[in-house]
């Protein structure tokens, strides 16, 4: 924020209407930011904030589609929704959390590679990271159906290595198959949200001054110590924004669970979708989506506090 040359408007008296005379051009100038903001902020207020208010009111309504809904402050809907669908909530957070951790483990080496090792290949690798984006993500997710198909190469290899025996015992897969199991859903989630992890990681790694590594080496730090004490702490902003950009969308996603999973792997997004678009039980759907929002916002606030990074916005 230090680079801005803010007009020296004293903060005490900016937008008082009586200053709005043409003799004072500074008063007109002071309104410039408000005119710039007006259309965009209005759009967000009407189509982002107001809908949330409508949804809050819908969640405490009772009634039916035929007779119409009415606000009756029926908070029981929230209790019922949680009681009926807590497995889906837990599953969503579990799957999204696992996918986020996997994204971090898979994404960090690649981000590190691009930032420090790629040299003149850097731009090419960056293009390769972003390029899969350009094929519609639904098409790519459907491709995982082919990759993980029963009797396909991946399943065969995992079988030969007896990996599937272990994962089946853990409950991640079902005897000899990957598709329609939790593992397939987590695999899809990890795949779909990896770029959201890699790009922020790369941005924060790239900012690190290479001389710091040299300095650490001069002070007899091993590469592992250098990573633990210098590189990783300095990449924390990237880690935080990467995990948020992965976890938040993953927790509400239902595409992966629907395309790669089964009825036993349904996530809360699927429930919200079917309540809204098929069952047409609007209060329950609104309550579910509010609970999801509350859980995510609480976790995110807590996480940001704990990690001590505030320069996110």
């Amino acid at each position: 924020m230090s680079l801005t040359e803010a007009p020296p408007a004293p903060p005490a008296e900016p937008e008082e209407p009586r200053k709005l005379t043409l003799r004072k051009p500074s008063a007109r100038k002071r309104l410039v930011p408000y005119w710039l903001l007006l259309p965009g902020i209005l759009w967000l207020l009407v189509f982002f904030a107001l809908p949330l208010v409508y949804q809050a009111s819908t969640s405490v309504q009772t009634g039916s589609l035929e007779q119409g809904f009415e606000v009756t402050w029926h908070f029981q809907t929230y209790v019922d929704a949680l009681r009926d669908y807590y497995p889906q909530f837990i599953r969503s957070l579990l799957y999204a959390g696992t996918a986020t951790i996997l994204c971090l483990l898979l994404g960090y080496p690649l981000a590190y590679l691009i930032a420090f090792k790629a040299g003149r290949w850097r731009n090419l690798v960056l293009v390769l990271v972003i390029a899969p984006f350009f094929t519609s993500f639904l098409i790519r997710t459907l491709a995982w159906k082919t990759i993980l198909a029963d009797g396909g190469a991946v399943v065969d290899v995992l079988n030969t290595l007896h990996v599937l025996d272990v994962t089946s015992w853990l409950g991640w897969t079902e005897s000899n198959r990957v598709l329609a199991t939790p593992m397939a859903v987590v695999c899809g989630l990890t795949y779909n949200f990896l770029p959201f992890m890699i790009l922020p990681l790369y941005t924060s790694l790239e900012r690190i001054d290479g001389r710091l590594h040299e300095a650490a080496g001069d002070l007899y730090a091993t590469p592992a110590t250098t990573f633990r004490k210098v590189t990783f702490p300095l990449s924390m902003p990237g880690v935080v924004s990467g995990t948020l950009l992965t976890f938040i969308p993953a927790s509400g996603d239902y595409v992966n669970a629907e395309l790669l999973g089964s009825t036993d792997t349904k996530m809360v997004g699927s429930v919200i979708q079917s309540q809204f678009l098929r069952v047409l039980d609007y209060p329950t759907a609104a309550a579910l989506s509010f609970i999801l929002m509350a859980i995510v916002l609480l976790m995110v606030t807590f996480y940001i506090r704990r990690s001590g990074t505030e320069d996110l916005v």
Partner: protein
């Protein structure tokens, strides 16, 4: 053990390349299966090589219609979100005013919320207003969620701009309009372009918000979604492959032009 030592020394490179392979694998599968001739309605198993789908990419009912609808929506959503977002970004970086913090949070929140929550709440608004779901509701929704991303992209660029360049322009008697058009805008252009590209990609690819607010209108992602239940035509893989190739070519050409310009500037 020289091999083991080599692996240990290049562990990060190997792990990174494996991740890259994981990311590109589905694109390769999509490409390979665009040359498949499946038995039955689903294109999940390799049967035999054929160019049929490439010869007749629009041979599936409604697919190319949905594709052109998605392109139209993405175009207008990009235009709207980029215009509104650029204005907001300039206001946020260049001016101090009341409620700056609140406005920053309002910009940040749509990105920090599961898509399904936004999609569902927007649908309750449209239902309450009795709006007809279709092209317009989808466009409104897309502008809404692309806006924050454009603001973030443009903001990053405007923040790194040297204000002295504009002062210099003013010292050389450029009027405010001239300064903006000939100095400010050209410098901010890469950020605006990045925001616009992001908006286009996000809008074109969006499924969840569209699924809630499109009514019976079918965009391309919705067509793909439906086909996962009804049977996936090979043409979907053709479109996916074509999109991939076009995008990679565009990015590579852009990079080539940029590097050539850089070397020209150096000479």
């Amino acid at each position: 053990m020289p091999v083991l030592r080599w692996i240990r020394r290049n562990l990060i490179v190997i792990a990174g390349l494996l991740t890259l392979a994981y990311m590109i694998l589905p694109n390769i599968v999509v490409m390979v299966f665009s040359f498949n001739k499946p038995n039955g309605r689903f294109n999940y198993e390799w049967q035999r090589f054929s160019l049929d789908a490439w010869k007749d990419p629009c041979g599936v009912a409604d697919m190319c219609g949905s594709l052109s609808l998605s392109l139209q929506i993405a175009f207008w959503a990009t235009l709207g979100a980029t215009a509104l977002g650029t204005m907001v970004a300039f206001a946020l970086v260049r001016y101090r005013f009341r409620a700056r913090g609140a406005i920053s949070s309002l910009i940040f929140l749509p990105m920090a919320m599961p898509e399904v929550v936004m999609a569902a709440s927007l649908l309750t608004l449209f239902l309450n207003m009795g709006a007809q779901l279709g092209f317009w509701t989808v466009l409104i929704a897309h502008i809404m969620f692309c806006l924050s991303f454009v603001v973030t992209a443009v903001k990053a660029r405007v923040m790194s701009m040297d204000p002295r360049l504009e002062e210099a322009a003013r010292d050389l008697y450029a009027g405010p309009v001239q300064t903006f058009l000939r100095v400010t805008l050209p410098i901010a252009a890469p950020g605006i372009a990045a925001g616009a590209l992001l908006a286009f990609a996000l809008s074109f690819d969006d499924f969840i918000i569209t699924n809630f607010n499109a009514g019976s209108t079918v965009t391309f992602p919705m067509f793909v979604w439906g086909s996962a239940q009804r049977g996936t035509p090979v043409q979907i893989n053709v479109i996916g492959t074509a999109m991939f190739i076009i995008a990679v070519t565009m990015v590579l050409v852009g990079q080539l032009i940029a590097s050539r310009r850089k070397s020209n500037a150096r000479n």
